[in-house]
Structure formats: structure tokens, C-alpha cells
């Protein structure tokens, strides 16, 4: 049983490591990054949680952990949606556009 748990957890970790490649791939814009990173991150966390649940069997720990996994499943895509929506509404859309927020007014 624990071998199966380790395999499932390894799949989750592999997903997260692939997400690192996603957020550092050169030549891609912000929307590519947030799509890859948040999708793969949520899937990885879900898989890791299932692996831990198999590892611990039916117990107090597993019940609480499923609560956490459900919350992450609801909240993580929501935060990614809000961030991407904020970027889209500000008109940040061009590839290779390294415009940061112009803070010449903010220099003190």
C-alpha cells in the first residue's frame, strides 16, 4: 500500500517540477506562465493529497487533509483568475513587453 502511495506522491511532485519549467520558459508572456503554473500546481497538490491519504489510511489526519485539499481546489484557481483578470483589465497583453508599473511618481 505504501508503494502505491509513494508512486502517486511522486506523480504529484513531478507535476510541480514541470510547473517550474513553465514559469521560467523564455519567450513566453505572462498569460502563458499563469496558465501553466496555476493549473499544474493545483493538479500537483491534489495528487499529493491523494497520495498522503493512501499512505495514512482512514484516520483523523485523512479527513482534515481532504478538507484542506477541497479548499485549495476552490481557492487556488480563484486567485489565479483574479490575478489574470486584473492583468487583462489593465491592458497588459504584449509578448516580451517588460513594462513594469511606472513608479516614477512613487520614488521618494
Amino acid at each position: 500500500m505504501s508503494i502505491l502511495a509513494y508512486i502517486v506522491m511522486g506523480i504529484g511532485v513531478a507535476f510541480m517540477l514541470l510547473g517550474v519549467i513553465g514559469i521560467f520558459k523564455p519567450g513566453k508572456d505572462f498569460y502563458y506562465r499563469i496558465l501553466v503554473a496555476c493549473k499544474i500546481d493545483t493538479v500537483g497538490l491534489l495528487t499529493l493529497g491523494i497520495g498522503l491519504a493512501i499512505y495514512h489510511g482512514i484516520s483523523f489526519f485523512t479527513g482534515k487533509m481532504f478538507l484542506i485539499v477541497i479548499m485549495i481546489l476552490v481557492l487556488n484557481p480563484f486567485v489565479a483568475h483574479i490575478v489574470a483578470r486584473s492583468a487583462s483589465r489593465s491592458g497588459y497583453d504584449s509578448i516580451g513587453d517588460s513594462t513594469d508599473v511606472d513608479e516614477s511618481a512613487g520614488e521618494k
Binding site: V74, L75, F78, I82, R89, E103, A105, G106, E107, K108
Partner: protein, 331 residues
Amino acid sequence: MGGFLAELLLLVFLVLCALYIVFSRKIYRVIIFFAVFSLITSVIYLFLGAPDVAMAEAGISAFTTIFFIVCLEKYYSRGKDGRNEATAPVPKVPLRVLLPAILFVSGLFALFILYAPTGYPYTGLRDQYLRMFMRDVGGENAVTAIYLGYRVYDTLFEALLLVTAVVAVLHLSWYSEAAVPDGRHSELEDSRMAKFTMRIVCPMILLFGMYLVLNGHISAGGGFLGGLAFALILICRFFVVGIFDLPIKKALKLEEIVFVFIVILPIFAIFTGVVYHFWGNSVLFQTIYLIAMNALVGLKVAFGFFVLFYRYVAVERLPEEDDTEDVKEAG
């Protein structure tokens, strides 16, 4: 060993974040990095074995981020004149002035580490507290036993501090009745996704806050964190439907009434010993006392943070230009 290495890595992160915060010249980057700093700090507290402090850090970091960002927004929305006035050059301290001071402080620190006492003198106090708190105050969580039993004066004083802070914000914030009716709306009100998510999340937060308050004496958490969770619901409500139809004046009144009860309950239960004379040192009474005090502290923190958030974030209007000048001249 693994835990030690993890702590070391996180501490290195902490130092790097602190350096970035100090040396960065852009305010919003400082705010974002401060959020990361709080995250890492709370995990370090957890590794060092203080889950109560870690939870408090995590809850407060959410509120500090909100207050910082609202402060930044108010600063930028003052108009061009106000913005230009604020750009005074910061005097740069040359390194050769700072270097002796840094060397002196690090030398003192090294001496302190080298000659630190290797152990604490044994006075028996530690064993006595650990042996007696179950009998004296009751409950499983020694932290709760201390802050509601041995050190209840500290709790009263902290509650008084929160009341003072709320009253100060109420009287110093620029708030006029005429500008209130619509207040400041969030930009998520037309988002169906936000409504759906909050519909799931808000009952969870309410349930978890009640769990924290009612289990404060046997697990980590307690009144303060339960109150923070209750206040988070109102912020989530602000995202989707606004909080302008809630009775703010009643919340303020309720906070003061709850503070009076927080003072009265320990007077009867602990200071005068009235209850002890009638019922003796029973576990049932102790449990009731701890749960009641936790619930009162939670209600008080919830109302206090709600009033702070409402006044400071939701409805405060900046004064007109003339008023600003008056305030500056008067100050």
C-alpha cells in the same frame, strides 16, 4: 537533522527577504515581499513549536497587507500636487559612518553568543507551572491556561488596547455621513466566479472560526484567531456584495458591551474567588469559564476588526483639497 536544515534554509530566505524589503525603492514591491516575509515567518514559528503564534502571524499578515495597500491607494489618489510634495529626497547615510556601528553591534552579538549561559538556573517554577495548570485553570492547552488564568491582567490590557485603537480610528479617520451611502465598491461585484467561490468559502470560514473558539482550551487557536476568522467573512462579503447595509453603530456598541463582560467574568471567576467558594475547583466550571472567555475575546476581536475595516477601507473618503491644506497647516 532534516528539521534543522529546513529551518536554516527558511532563515536564509528570511534574511534575503528582509534585505530586499529594506533596500527596495518601490513601495508596492515592498508590500508584496512583506507578504512573502510573513509567510516564511509563520512557517518558522511552526517549526520552532509555537502553532498559536504561527496562526496569529498568518491571520494578521492578511490584515496588514490590506491596510498597507489601502494606504498606498489613498496616497496615490491625492492628486498631482500632493504627490509632488511628498517626493522629498531621502538623505543617504555613507557607508563609512555606518560601518563602525555595524562592527560594534556584531561584536557585541558575538560576545553575547560566546559567553551566553549554557543553561538556566533551576528554580522549580517551570515544573510547578506545568504540573499545576491543569488543576488551577483547567484545559489542555497550557498557553490558554496562562493567558486566561495566570496572566489574565495581560489579556484585559490587550483588550483595552484594541478598544483604544478602534476609538482612535473612529475619531481620526476622514469620514463624513454625506459620502457614505454607496461607499467604495470592489471590482468583483459583477463576477459570477467570485460569488460562487465566496458562497462555498464563507460557511467554511464561519464553521472553522467557531471550531477555533470552542476548542480554544484543548487545541491550538483560541479566541483571537476565531475572531479574525469571523472578521474575514465580512471582508469576503465586501468583495461580492459590499458591507454597507450592516449596522456599524450597533457593532461598535456591542464591542464595548463585550469588553465590559470580559472585565466582569474574571472578577467573579478568578480575582474574588466567589465561584470557588460556592462550587469548589470543579472541572466543569473551569471548562465553562475558558470557553466563555474565549468566545468573548473572539466576539470582541471580530467586532473590533470589522469596525476598523469598515471605517478605514470601505467608507473613508479623502477630504477636498482645501481641507487637506487646513489639516497640514494645523498639523
